[in-house]
């Protein structure tokens, strides 16, 4: 029997992070993943991460995946790919199907970091080809470079629905609408806004009732729902789409833990009962990441590191004192992610009306996916100033602070509590470098210069679509709702490695449109 100190199931953010910690402390570690590429969901996540430096903020998910992988390999972690763990058995034995064999491995500890799977809701026609999970769309386009469809209806406005909608747009696919049965956008407002300003309508309190077609999806019918989520007759609306993407939540893929005899509980899916270090009721079996409760990759990395460190202590690779120091630091980093209105405790709450600072939330953001201009001025990132300056349309308490680090001139302050809304200094010494624009994971920072010339203002916005517009080109400026508001002239398109694929598109619009124009669209033809 091949025996290791630690066997890790799943080479995603949690599994790799745990493996790295354990290997760093001298443990012999093997990681198994059923996919041909490691990294779990990280390689599909092409957006920049939230959080702060310690959470790898503003780095794109797939780059984090590559970093973790090379770190694991450097430390001698054995990463087995195309290796399907078929079961966890008594005495910490796992069976792995790899290379045409069923191999048995034993560990002195086992960490299950198997991630999550997508939930689905049934509706008429949901078995037709063309109805797919949002994760499926992500896999198809970001891993395999194949478009899942041409025109998509997105069902679900949580972060997955929002992020995948944006990725569909980036892949050159039309998004007909984002719908959600809930009365409010579920995900981050900034994710919603970057989709809404491209012209994608948000239809809250709407549900999918039918996928049309006989051989494949040819359309979708949605309807308004009442407060009990029942469709209201007569409110049906048809969309011409060839794809319906379902982003209605995730469930932990915790079967292996249940199979291993770990005590499970129902907490938004079946999850293992864990102690503070991620150990299950079966001594020596740990769990980390989404399999232990749905969060996101940033917390998965931390729960993975906590488990890896705790396993090292348990097996004699880390003394009590060092462990307790490292554990405290990791736990604090995790709790910094768990603050604010999107904290795990607040999940699903619809009764929050104001930010931590006591500022009333934008109701338009929650209902339409974008902020109304009139609501903006009450937020600390939005100041009126002479000359070029940042306008930060960040209005919810999201754990994130790269903007603060991005500005070398101290124009932007978040403070030590990273869920605080960013503040723009009253008399900022903004040079218009645009680093804040490129660093904002939510793409919520714009540079505005209302004194660009006699009659015009310049607006610099983050731009992640191909083809890039060309300087001098004339097109349309779109408002936050994605509707054309005026003509715009492209002044410049800047991109540099440090901006990591977020181009800075600067357009000139009439002065009075400086606080209205937030996206650019080339003229047809």
């Amino acid at each position: 029997m091949k025996r290791y100190e630690l066997l890790v199931v799943g080479a995603g953010p949690a599994g790799l992070s745990a493996a790295i910690e354990a290997a760093r402390l001298g443990m012999k570690v093997a990681v198994f993943d059923e996919n041909s590429r490691p990294g779990g969901q990280l390689f599909k996540q092409i957006h920049k991460f939230f959080g702060s430096k310690e959470h790898k903020a503003k780095i794109r998910g797939y780059r984090i995946g590559a970093e973790l992988l090379s770190e694991a390999e450097r430390l001698g972690v054995e990463v087995h790919l195309n290796a399907v763990v078929t079961g966890i058995f008594e005495f910490m034995e796992i069976n792995v199907m790899e290379n045409g064999e069923l191999c048995h491995y034993k560990g002195n500890a086992v960490l299950v970091a198997a991630g999550a799977r997508e939930n689905m809701i049934p509706f008429e026609g949901w078995t037709l080809p063309g109805v797919i999970g949002a994760g499926a769309a992500q896999t198809m386009m970001n891993l395999h470079g194949v478009r899942p469809g041409q025109r998509v209806l997105m069902v679900g406005s949580g972060n997955v629905g929002l992020v995948v909608s944006y990725q569909l747009l980036q892949a050159g696919i039309q998004v007909a609408a984002i719908i959600d049965a809930a009365p409010q956008v579920g995900g981050y407002g900034v994710h919603a806004s970057k989709v809404a300003r491209t012209g994608v309508p948000f239809l809250l309190s709407h549900t999918i009732i039918k996928a049309e077609g006989t051989e494949r999806v040819t359309g979708a019918v949605i309807a308004k729902v009442d407060e009990k989520f029942r469709p209201i007759a007569g409110t049906e609306q048809h969309f011409d789409v060839d794809t319906i993407c379902m982003a209605v939540g995730l469930s932990p893929m915790s079967q292996l833990l249940a199979m291993a005899g770990c005590r499970m509980e129902e907490r938004r899916g079946t999850v293992p009962v864990l102690n503070e270090y991620g150990e299950t009721s079966v001594a020596g079996i740990f769990a980390a990441g989404d399999v232990a409760g749905i969060e996101e990759a940033s917390s998965a990395m931390l729960t993975g590191r906590i488990a890896g460190t705790a396993i090292a202590r348990k097996l004699g690779y880390l003394d009590e004192e060092t462990f307790s120091g490292e554990y405290q630091a990791l736990k604090e980093a995790l709790s910094r992610l768990h603050e604010g209105m999107f904290s795990p405790e607040n999940r699903g709450r619809r009764d929050l009306t104001e930010t931590d600072e006591g500022i009333p939330l934008s109701q338009s953001l929650l209902k339409n996916g974008y902020i109304e201009k009139e609501e903006l001025t009450r937020f600390p990132g939005v100041v009126k100033q002479k000359g070029i300056h940042p306008v930060i349309e960040c209005t919810q308490n999201i754990p994130c602070n790269p903007c603060q680090d991005a500005c070398k001139f101290g124009c932007i302050a978040v403070g030590s509590r990273i869920t605080k809304l960013p503040e723009v200094a009253k008399d900022s010494r903004c040079t218009g470098c645009g680093m804040c624009v490129a660093s904002c994971s939510g793409q919520a920072i714009f540079l505005v210069n209302e004194d660009y010339d006699e009659t015009g203002a310049s607006v610099t916005l983050p731009y992640e679509f191909f083809p890039y517009p060309k300087a001098g080109e004339r097109g349309l400026a779109l408002g936050r709702d994605g509707r054309p508001v005026c003509e715009a002239e492209v002044i410049s398109v800047k991109s540099s490695p440090v901006m990591d694929q977020t181009a800075l598109l600067t357009i000139r619009v009439p002065k009075e449109m400086a606080m209205t124009a937030r996206f650019y669209r080339a003229k047809e033809g």
Binding site: E34, N35, S36, I46, R60, Y62, R117, E118, T127, L128, P129, G130, V131, I132, G133, G135, A136, A137, T139, M140, M141, N142, H144, G145, V146, R147, P148, Q150, Q170, A171, G172, E215, R216, E464, F465, F466, Q501
Partner: protein, 109 residues
Amino acid sequence: MEMEMRINEHPILGVIEKGRLVHFTLDGADMEGYEGEPIAAALRAAGVMTHRHTVKRGEPRGIFCAIGRCTDCVMVVNGKPNVRTCVTPLEEGMKVQTQYGKTAKEQTK
């Protein structure tokens, strides 16, 4: 008009790496795809959406989860039924068949 389903250049990912071009057949017809990509990806790129027809109702099914969980996308590959095409890498000369119930139309038992 069918849009090109392959993403040739992506604003974030740049040029997406592919294996070499290989040939395979779908129900006897010649097809092309890239070695190592899932069979399902090659089929989707070629505009094929129906992978099988179900046992009881004969209804069409295609890609659903794309990560090997749901088993909706199974087809008969090289004579073997129930192959999850979303996680099975494409190889030169593969014989892929639409699955009807438990087999391809021509029995492959």
